[in-house]
Symmetry: C2
């Protein structure tokens, strides 16, 4: 069951502490224990304790952080829950696929399943930090699940995957020679990439369009490993050195 120990549930900006308690209970029912709270509105709170019932240990061990990046630190696979159609399509899983993939990935590294605000879900920026999205195929006429109910469904599928695995019914994960890049490494890479694109005049931070979003999706789909990432960063450094030298030449030419 060590795979389950590598899976964390991340709640972003939760408003109602009762929902945090309900999530803790749903997690423990399904054998998950690692809860991360990104800037919750009201926590700790009595109402969270009340709704958590006998899952108080999950609440007590919850990690409260200021930013989503902190909550995702160290993760190799990040899934964001998405209720709405997004402008740019992202690799999308249904809850069953999410359960199997998350469980399989958790054999190798930390996995985060990210849930947004009660009223507005996750922002596009937050969703673009995720490797994949998961959508619960609810009734189109009433698709807004309670937060704890959504966590219940997603964690249930993770547990079903773990039970299938115990029975030997889960396809085995491809072994890879190099560990996959972590969330932190990827974030540094995207920062580096954006700066390099600015340096060569390809990208304008004040008028970004969808450039970085599309690049995030692209590299997220590939599932870079550490060695590949190191090569790509070497390329970026090469690009920046060239841009720096170019700039120097241009400045020299402007001089009288």
């Amino acid at each position: 069951m060590s795979n389950l120990a590598n899976i964390r549930i991340v709640l972003v900006n939760t408003t109602h502490p009762g929902n945090i308690g309900g999530v803790a209970r749903a997690m423990k029912n399904m054998g998950l224990e690692r809860l991360y709270l990104v800037a919750p509105k009201d926590f700790p709170a009595d109402r969270a304790v009340w709704r958590a019932a006998n899952a108080l240990d999950v609440l007590d061990n919850a990690v409260v952080v200021d930013s989503l990046d902190d909550a995702l630190s160290g993760c190799g696979f990040v899934v964001g829950t998405s209720a709405r159609e997004r402008r740019i399509p992202w690799p999308l899983l249904n809850p069953r696929e999410c359960g199997v993939r998350s469980y399989q990935e958790a054999a190798q590294h930390h996995v985060a399943l990210v849930f947004g605000r009660e009223d507005r879900g996750l922002t596009n920026e937050e969703l673009h930090k995720c490797t994949c999205h998961v959508h619960i195929p609810a009734n189109p006429e009433y698709s807004s699940l309670n937060l704890a109910a959504a966590v219940q469904v997603i964690c249930y599928e993770v547990r079903m995957a773990s039970l299938l695995d115990e029975q030997g019914n889960l396809p085995s994960f491809d072994d890879w020679d190099v560990p996959p890049a972590t969330f932190d490494d990827l974030e540094l890479y995207f920062e580096h990439l954006e700066q390099a694109l600015v340096d060569i005049g390809f990208h304008d931070r004040d008028n970004p369009r969808q450039t970085m979003t599309r690049l995030r999706r692209l590299y997220g789909r590939i599932r870079l490993d550490e060695m590949e990432l190191s090569i790509l960063r070497g390329v970026l450094t090469g690009i920046q050195n060239a841009a720096y030298r170019l700039k120097k030449f241009e400045q020299q030419r402007k001089r009288p």
Copy 2:
């Protein structure tokens, strides 16, 4: 989607009205609308309305009845949720199998998914009225799901089955020439059967042991159709006629 309209959620003796509201929401999220409440402790109630959010129509249309039999009236397939190991094993489904079976059965007749009390679940007597049981494979160290969470998982699997069916991925249900017997017919049959067993001196209502339970399980597994049931009832009438005549003879013999 007419299959979904044939599936009812039955809650037995619910204590907290908030849970009834949570159930209504979970149902509507998954496209189910028919809620039956067997002798709820506190309903209607503000707290139910609050938790139901935009699923008020499900609450408003909820059917409140006095007994489980009333709630199951007209059903051809009844599944009871069971958390505990029972003394006599019953045909047991996991939530996924329950979703597929319930959805398939609902093409032919009404289906009931029955959930017990928050603290004690369903009684053995109630469970023995069910065709099958369903067990949510929760963490053995903390297996007590909140009522609305349990309904969420079960309804989610019904919805997944309906979506698989839309995609043509569900195995087709065997057609049968005669409709399956309804819950009501089966209950009348079991009453008839018990009386016939008493009449022939095989069964003692004051010392019932597990006789009727085992017979319920047996006939529940067969899934009797209406014609078969009619034949069995004819046999019981024949048995009773014989027992009646026998009794008369014995009474005559005792006379001086």
